[in-house]
């Protein structure tokens, strides 16, 4: 088992992690950083969103009411409005408050009913404490972004195939960056508030799903369009009563389905986005669903709940396995590229667990693969304590690097949030090896991270910092070759560079040649079959074919 004690010490103040090369992490000062990145790789966009540049709106819907003159509507109108806005509770509240206009018995009885309702909901809330939170707090609690409510960059998503990404900002706008085009479309929508997650649809160039406070939005941003402000008509609104706030979304790797989760709703929604219809998959235990992750081979979905319980759904017939945890809820999880392993972390524990899925019907128990309990490092600037609870996990698409975002302690200066990167090895046994810490500029803490889905030379980790900066840290290495998991493999992109060398250089030509070869043999075969040849000839030609059959297919 790997622990933090095996890691190299964190960098001194003023140094930032630049990249991994020749098996070690290189560092430099901030100025080097930009220089080196712009010269070496294509991903030169170091984005910077200073907090001051964002126009934040601090008003909420309810507070705007006070700005208007006192209204003198009739009781009926107010009741109708209260019913529309706040449902039964709102109506009862309105009646109770306007006790001068209604008969006494009505106001008293509605007050009594209201108290009863509140008592009942508090009882329900004591069973599932998260239900009493406001939706903003709930988003902050269950988001994969560290300190979400105060973060300038609230969500980030690379496109699974093309070189572009979407960034959701604190002012509820989403910007799409594409290094190849000069326009950066900005997406704004009336319903796009408190964005908790964004994700691009696989097998598609344009669709971007956004998890908002009250609904799901699916934007269709035409990549060829020159418009910088796509109209809100480009967005599909998917909503279901009771299914808000949406804290997590996940597209199926085949791009056909979208699942969404809300801590308030015990059902997980499976959306057919094109027809805007959904199938609720309801399981009552747990009190909601907080985090979803679809395995890259599209066979399983991880769904964690606010209670000490998570589920693993299998996606053929949509049945689930229950996995009770001992201490807390499942905070984060990620799948290996072939979908056979699930790494997850539990709130309140400082370890990473692994679950292995194979041909046998389900694993029996989770094993601990890494211990991240607090470790003190002596650096030039004094002692730094690293370790603690894990906020999120991210595994690169080749399955070679695992990034772990450690929460740290925001109050203590010597216990910063930090990203620890592991090397992963599957042979002969699955294990994690230390690689190093990724650090940014002084004073900047990592908030969220994501690996580039198809980086050609290894892995590319994109980190969003608390300063509002987004940087990319490349890890250059030669992959040991990903296990090719066939069709079910989600974005089973051809990656000639990552194949073993003897295989890589011939892939294109062999396929071409064998295609030609196949045409010839098929043609020849067609003739021989149609002509009335004696059976011996035919069987010989068959043998011929099987000899000349391209073996590398």
């Amino acid at each position: 088992m790997c622990s933090l004690a095996l890691f190299p010490a964190p960098l001194a103040c003023g140094q930032t992690t630049l990249c991994e090369s020749n098996n070690e992490l290189l560092s430099g000062t901030a100025t080097d950083h930009r220089l080196k990145q712009s010269t070496h790789i294509n991903y030169s966009v170091v984005l910077y969103f200073p907090r001051e540049s964002l126009k934040l709106h601090c008003r909420t819907e309810s507070s705007s009411k006070a700005a208007f003159l006192d209204h003198s509507e009739t009781l009926w109108m107010r009741s109708a409005a209260a019913w529309r806005d706040g449902g039964l509770t709102g109506l009862l509240n309105e009646i109770t408050n306007s006790n001068t206009e209604v008969p006494k018995w009505l106001s008293v009885s509605s007050g009594f009913t209201l108290a009863l309702l509140r008592w009942f909901s508090s009882f329900h809330g004591s069973l599932f404490p998260h239900l009493t939170m406001s939706s903003e707090n709930m988003l902050a609690e269950f988001s994969q972004v560290l300190n979400w409510s105060d973060c300038v960059v609230r969500a980030f998503a690379w496109h699974p195939h093309a070189d572009k990404f979407a960034v959701a900002l604190l002012d509820d706008s989403i910007k799409i960056y594409n290094p190849k085009s000069a326009t950066t479309p900005t997406l704004k929508h009336r319903l796009q508030r408190s964005v908790a997650a964004v994700q691009w649809k696989p097998m598609c160039a344009s669709a971007l799903a956004v998890a908002c406070q009250n609904c799901l939005l699916v934007w269709h941003v035409d990549p060829c369009s020159l418009s910088t402000r796509p109209s809100s008509g480009c967005a599909q609104v998917l909503s279901n009563p009771g299914h808000s706030p949406v804290t997590s979304i996940a597209w199926s790797p085949s791009g056909s389905l979208l699942v969404s989760a809300s801590p308030m709703d015990t059902a997980m929604m499976v959306w057919d986005v094109a027809s805007e219809s959904c199938v609720p998959l309801q399981r009552v235990g747990g009190g909601g669903v907080t985090f979803l992750s679809w395995s890259p081979d599209s066979s399983h979905v991880l769904a964690s709940t606010p209670s000490a319980l998570f589920r693993v759904w299998e996606t053929r017939t949509w049945t689930c396995e229950r996995w009770p945890c001992v201490k807390g809820r499942c905070q984060s999880g990620c799948w290996s590229p072939d979908g056979s392993r699930l790494l997850f972390t539990v709130q309140g524990e400082m370890v990473i667990y692994v679950l292995t899925f194979g041909d046998t019907p389900g694993p029996q128990a989770a094993a601990v693969v890494a211990d991240l309990s607090e470790t003190t490092f002596n650096t030039a600037d004094g002692d730094i304590i690293v370790g603690g609870e894990i906020h999120s996990l991210s595994w690169d698409p080749t399955g070679e690097r695992l990034a772990v975002l450690l929460e740290g302690d925001p109050q203590a200066a010597d216990r910063p949030a930090i990203i620890a990167v592991f090397k992963t090895r599957t042979n002969p046994i699955f294990e994690l090896l230390p690689c190093g810490f990724v650090q940014g500029e002084p004073g900047a803490e990592p908030r969220m991270m994501q690996f580039h889905p198809n980086f050609q030379h290894g892995a590319l980790l994109t980190v969003c910092w608390s300063s509002g900066r987004i940087t990319h840290v490349p890890f250059y290495f030669l992959g040991a070759g990903v296990p090719h998991f066939g069709l079910s493999g989600s974005p089973s992109l051809p990656r000639p560079q990552e194949r073993p060398a003897d295989f890589a250089n011939q892939s294109l030509f062999t396929e071409l040649i064998s295609l030609l070869l196949f045409f010839f043999t098929a043609f020849f075969f067609y003739i021989t079959n149609n002509a009335t040849l004696p059976p011996t000839v035919r069987s010989r030609s068959l043998k011929l074919l099987s000899n000349s059959k391209p073996t590398d297919f």
Binding site: P223, G255, S256, A274, S277, V279, L487, L515
Partner: protein, 601 residues
């Protein structure tokens, strides 16, 4: 002949599934009735009395048997009327025509009668003042003391409520296409699906019952005296003048009566809707094209069979058959779209001419042409399914897509030998696997229109009325065009998954021979779909209405098809990447494909 055998086989499978669903519905009747009894006797002031022992009289058992009969009848009607290709009325007149059709009339009548029977059962179960239709009374003021039978209006009002609810249910069924069976986006076990949709059925039954009872009360208030007088006359009953009549405001505002009406109507609708739900769940279990889509996605061993060569001979028969059927299905859709687009493009000039000329031709003997534009105002193939049924009926020869482009032989994709071979080890006609190769379910086109001459004339009139324009329902023609697109969606998914898998699994290069034609077919279809969505109304989203048991999936099938098509092409391009440059295709297609390769579509 094989086709015929298959058809019989499929029919048998559907029948068995329907029987199983009906059996479950009958079994569920007992607990539903128990809940009904408890709810109907619930009294707010004496909650304990609700559960006090009530002796099961022979009437109750008899009524239960009657209810079983009704459930079986409902199940039979479901089986008889269900369709996977919805009938989409392209104009309001056409909708009216549907509602007034004799077959629909028979259906409504059957529902009325069943409603009365269920209501009678409810009345017997409720007991008390509802139990019998007549009761002995003494008329007058004591001088004439001869015992007479008087009409029990409470019983009557309940029976009529049953009839009304049954009738309105059957009408709503037509309007909301309740007989349309759609396919779920995700596969779930039957029990889980049932459990998941049970609350929804309860909710929508209760709501529908509420609206029906409201309407019924209004009708009874104004017209209630007619059936009352009629019943009195035929059954020789008297009206008790000492009892307050119910078709008055005071009589109808009896809360207990309202509650009992509502709960009876809910019970009635709930049992019927449950039967329908079970039928849908059982019948949509597995189908061939769906199976191709699923196997191509989930089962490597069965994919391997697709990619294999035949021994001896070395032909990829399995793959050839699958790809041929799927491609012909897609090509057919393309043709349909192109033809539709052409007619719409020439609409302004051609319409006035065509209406007149067709009147002439249809009165002649050219039967097919008359039926082809039977329901649609335009001489297109909007509702070519009935046409194809007729055409087959009349001509008696199978069509190939070439000879009759607008009447695709919907049977062929499913009767293909390859699919059969894939599942050959399995029992052909077992309820579980027989279906895999032959979803002749697709064939059950809406058979609402029979071929009598009078009707044809009627439809002609309807057509000319509808073409006036203002009676047309917008976007309905677009919906009708894509009504059977579930099959195309499965074909696209199946093909694209197989091609994707072939990149690593296809040992003999079987797929590569057909790759150009697959890509070409998909790109042409993509172009046609794109063009179609540029038409007015085609891209407007239908209003989402989640109420009622009617399934509105068919309204959004065109969007689903568009999304699936794009995803399918991307699935192939992302898998093969730049290798696709080695595939032979026309320059135009290559340009189009390049857009996909650069993620610019």
């Amino acid at each position: 002949i094989l086709d015929l055998v298959n058809n019989q086989c499929w029919n048998r499978v559907v029948c068995w599934r329907a029987v199983a669903s009906i059996a479950w519905a009958v079994l569920l009747l007992l607990p539903i009735t128990a809940v009904f009894v408890i709810l109907s006797r619930f009294s707010l002031l004496h909650p304990i009395q609700t559960f006090s022992g009530q002796s099961l009289c022979s009437f109750a058992i008899f009524s239960l048997i009657l209810m079983c009969g009704v459930i079986i009848m409902v199940g039979f009607l479901n089986l008889e009327y269900y369709t996977v290709i919805p009938t989409i009325a392209c104009s309001k007149i056409a909708l009216l025509g549907q509602l007034l059709h004799p077959r629909q009339f028979v259906n409504s009548l059957a529902h009325c009668i069943m409603g009365i029977i269920v209501a009678w059962c409810c009345a017997v179960t409720l007991g008390g003042r509802y139990e019998t239709i007549g009761y002995p009374c003494t008329q007058g003021d004591g001088t004439d003391s001869s015992p007479q039978m008087c009409l029990n209006e409470y019983h009557l009002i309940l029976l009529l409520a049953g009839a009304f609810v049954g009738f309105s249910h059957s009408l709503l069924a037509v309007i909301s296409n309740i007989n349309y069976v759609s396919f779920h986006t995700v596969q779930q076990y039957k029990y889980l699906r049932f459990k998941g949709s049970l609350p929804f059925v309860v909710k929508c039954s209760a709501a529908q019952a509420l609206y029906s009872v409201r309407n019924y009360i209004v009708v009874y208030f104004f017209l209630g005296y007619i059936p009352k007088a009629w019943i009195c006359k035929t059954l020789n009953l008297h009206l008790n003048s000492s009892v307050h009549p119910l078709d008055s405001i005071a009589g109808l505002l009896d809360l207990s009566l309202l509650y009992h009406q509502w709960i009876s109507a809910s019970f009635l609708l709930f049992t019927w809707n449950i039967t329908l739900l079970l039928f849908r769940i059982f019948v949509t279990e597995f189908l061939a094209l769906q199976d191709v889509a699923l196997l191509s996605q989930h089962s490597p061993s069965r994919r391997c069979e697709v990619f294999s060569l035949s021994q001896p001979g070395g032909h990829p028969h399995n793959w050839n058959a699958i790809s041929k059927e799927c491609l012909s299905l897609l090509a057919d859709l393309t043709q349909r779209l192109v033809a539709y687009h052409d007619t719409v493009a020439t609409n302004g000039r051609a319409k006035s001419l065509s209406t007149g000329s067709e009147r002439k031709t249809s009165s002649e003997t050219s039967f097919t042409s008359a039926t082809e534009d039977l329901m649609s105002p335009r001489p297109t193939l909007l509702l070519r399914t009935p046409a194809s049924v007729f055409a087959r009926f009349v001509v008696g020869t199978p069509h190939s897509p070439l000879t009759a482009p607008f009447t695709p032989d919907l049977d062929s994709p499913f009767a293909s030998p390859a699919l059969r071979r894939l599942t050959a080890p399995l029992d052909q006609c077992s309820p579980w696997f027989g279906t895999v190769q032959s979803p002749h379910i697709m064939r059950r086109a809406p058979k609402l229109w029979s071929t009598s001459t009078g009707e044809r004339r009627l439809m002609e009139d309807v057509r000319s009325l509808g073409s006036n324009g203002h009676l047309k329902l917008p976007e309905a023609s677009s919906q009708a065009l894509f009504a059977d697109s579930q099959a195309h969606i499965w074909a696209l998914e199946g093909l694209s998954y197989l091609v994707q898998a072939s990149f690593s699994e296809d040992q003999f290069g079987v797929i590569q021979t057909t790759l150009p034609s697959i890509l070409g077919c998909m790109l042409i279809l993509q172009e046609a779909v794109d063009r179609h969505f540029k038409l007015p109304h085609a891209s407007s989203k239908p209003v989402r209405s989640a109420s009622g048991m009617g399934d509105s999936t068919y309204k959004t099938l065109r969007f689903a098809l568009r999304a699936t098509l794009k995803t399918a092409i991307y699935r192939i391009t992302t898998t093969f990447g730049n290798h696709l440059n080695a595939v032979q295709m026309s320059a135009e297609h290559r340009k189009r494909l390049q857009q996909f390769l650069e993620y610019k579509e």
